[in-house]
Symmetry: C2
Subunit: 440 residues, 2 copies
């Protein structure tokens, strides 16, 4: 087992040693944010807070961790004792999961004794970065599908188990219908679904025998994979099985096409199924899909009912990382910042305020100092208190609630931000005068 | 806790139900391979076998898993009983970790009862894909650094914990010197190292005070981060501290530049340090580096001693996924394959044979059927038996041995493959006549 407390960069711990030695143990404020959006994204979906709060609540070094650290020769007995007793006792304000955020806007702000606040940097970034990255990608895929079901198929090519779990969760919270990941179904209560693999078809002497075997097992829940040999011939075999099922009072649910020119094939397959009297059998497609493929297929009128999306969504393939940063913004009540070229950061603990137009659409955000108050009476604050004294202020949110928030939130986006074209006019995010003066 | 057995696509389990019902429970051979290299890669480094074998040896469904599966309503009592008793009892042949492989060449081949062999698909792909992806990227970064130390800094932006752990391991096994990831140090025995964060500098009233505090703590192991405010001024502060340390019989190890035009800055910083009589203080750089940046810096003669590489290596940013596939190639002794357009697969269990030229350089591979024998007397087989009866044939390999293999292996690459230019002549991989005839 890997100890979460050791999932940190070594410098977090050597800095702790130096802080202790220097008596630099005051209260610190850190801000975690994405510096700027990648060109492929028009907005971000905040996610990962639940996992991040779990980590903070449970943070502790085990006896084995301390033994390992002692063995490095880098730490004094005083520092090892400090770490052995360390728990996260601070407070946190954060943007709820499922909300839309933009560059420079804090996802979470931590206020805690310096060593506690510093030591959590690596895993807080890792967690919030991963979930926000994946949710921000999945939201685009869901938007592109324009109401048709999207199913997460990506566990196999996500970057490990955490990423596969986070991807299934991110996909669902942004509006995907289901996941193929059984563990995600178990762990998060996400609907699970699946079809069959090519190996199922090839393990039988013929495609038709394979189809019949599966349909016999799941007479009302069968999706037949029809592209193993020849897709149109596969559709004919599926139609045969669909008719056999219908004759027995059952219904073939769908066919899936996983390769080839799926747009053109979907029309041919639809024609085969319709001609066989099976207009209710749906067509699912998969295989290297992303939001652009989906949008193009639907724009061309392809008769596709659902999309299985894996690799490109679960690895956020077109933008596989975000510029996540965790910066000290306040120490002992004094705002602090750095000026590194291209990486300057805004000082002080912050709030993000959002305004809406008369139609309820998001009209612009203002980043202010945390205690500055709203820039306008109707502005809504995005960061809310989530932790005090190292404990959550409220129980974990049900995933369904986060999903509902995310879906509602997206209807309030300006139309231009819901398109796939990220080059359109960017969403306005302003810096308050007080914050500007402090940064200057 | 997440049960490894549930980390699978639902269809693996519903196919198991259908296989049982159809009596389709013969012996199957599956082959896991990368279809083709992404344009950004000239070769792949096989990795992840140790984790994959761990998974196979430990595979079992817990009582809780079975309860969950029962609750889905998708499984018969017979299938649930089968799964509850299921262990992986098969055999595996694989390419040892650290070896170079190419498209279509199997990384692992599994021979086992069909349900066992099928059910492990998702996590086998997930594991071997992740490690091979990351090692293949890290090898390029190490090559670009031409002997200068590369340190893995990527945990924070790797896709989750597994990815951060796999990235640290992949970086080390391909030749990186160390990692900042403490848990990877603990778990894999990888050297750990670190410097300081900008927050360390900004938490003190002045940069010089911060530098002195750190140097007092680690008088012989300090790397000072000098770009928080002004890099050249930071170098002067570092020189002051370096001279103070030298006067007390200690030595400042290095300075780090994390932003700006690091090539030009490194020259200015080198001049400051040399003028201060500190020619032994090294210069480390970091911040958004990849193999192309590193190569350009070294080509321009920048006086840089080591590179901290994170995001772009640990997310394999330029090629964040590989086309990993796991295909049924043999069932009950009969070769099987599929013809899906663009996704056809070669039938039969295979072997990959490698030949070398008179200088010991890799001269070309031939993929043959497993029992075909070598295409030439001096050809070396890449796949070796690693598991029988569901148990490893040999203990896990020490990471140091894998690292030595990978470093030796790369010296045998044709020179053109060791450059960053992947458009140069590709490495020849042929298909044997017998395999070609079977595929036709």
């Amino acid at each position: 087992m890997i100890s979460p407390a050791l999932l940190t960069d070594l410098y977090e711990l050597t800095m702790a040693e130096a802080y202790l030695r220097a008596g630099e143990t005051g209260t610190a404020g850190f801000s975690l944010f994405i510096r700027r959006l990648p060109p492929e994204r028009a907005y971000l979906v905040a996610a990962g807070l639940d996992a991040a709060l779990d980590y903070l609540e449970d943070l502790h070094f085990t006896a084995d961790d301390i033994t390992f650290l002692r063995g490095t020769g880098l730490f004094s007995a005083a520092a090892l004792n400090h770490l052995a007793a360390l728990r996260f006792t601070g407070e946190a304000r954060a943007v709820p999961e499922g909300r839309i955020v933009f560059g420079e806007e804090p996802l979470i702000e931590i206020t805690a004794p310096l060593i506690e606040a510093q030591i959590v940097e690596t895993l807080l970034i890792n967690t919030l970065h991963l979930h926000t990255l994946l949710a921000s990608k999945a939201a685009r895929v869901v938007e592109a599908a324009r109401g048709r079901a999207v199913v997460d198929f990506g566990l196999r090519r996500a970057h490990g188990i955490d990423a596969g779990m986070a991807a299934a969760r991110a996909a669902y919270l942004t509006g995907c219908a289901a996941t193929s990941n059984v563990a995600a179904g178990r762990h998060f209560g996400i609907p699970i679904t699946g079809t069959m693999a090519h190996s199922f078809v090839t393990s039988f002497p013929s495609e038709l025998e394979a189809f019949r075997a599966y349909a016999a097992t799941y007479p009302d829940a069968t999706t037949l994979l029809i592209d193993t040999y020849d897709t149109v011939q596969g559709a004919r075999h599926a139609a045969t099985v669909g008719q056999e099922l219908a004759a027995r009072g059952h219904r073939l649910r769908a066919v899936r096409i996983d390769s080839g020119e799926v747009g053109a094939l979907s029309r041919e397959v639809r024609a085969v199924l319709d001609a066989a009297g099976l207009p209710g059998v749906q067509i699912a497609v998969s295989g290297g899909l992303d939001e652009h493929h989906i949008a193009a297929l639907l724009a061309a009128g392809a008769p596709i009912d659902s999309f299985g999306v894996g690799t490109r969504m679960d690895a956020s393939e077109d933008a596989p990382t975000l510029e996540a940063a965790y910066k000290l913004v306040e120490y002992e009540g004094r705002p602090v910042f750095k000026r590194s070229r291209g990486k300057a950061s805004l000082p002080g603990r912050k709030q993000v305020w959002r305004r809406y137009d008369a139609d309820g659409r998001m009209a612009g955000d203002v980043i202010t100092l945390a205690d500055e108050g709203p820039p306008a009476p109707d502005a809504e604050p995005l960061l809310v208190p989530v932790m005090a004294g190292g404990r959550r202020l409220t129980p974990p949110e049900p995933l369904a609630a986060i999903r509902a928030r995310c879906l509602a939130e997206r209807t309030r986006l300006p139309d231009v931000l819901r398109t796939l074209d990220t080059g359109a006019s960017p969403y306005p995010v302003a810096i308050s005068d007080q914050l500007s003066v402090l940064s200057a």
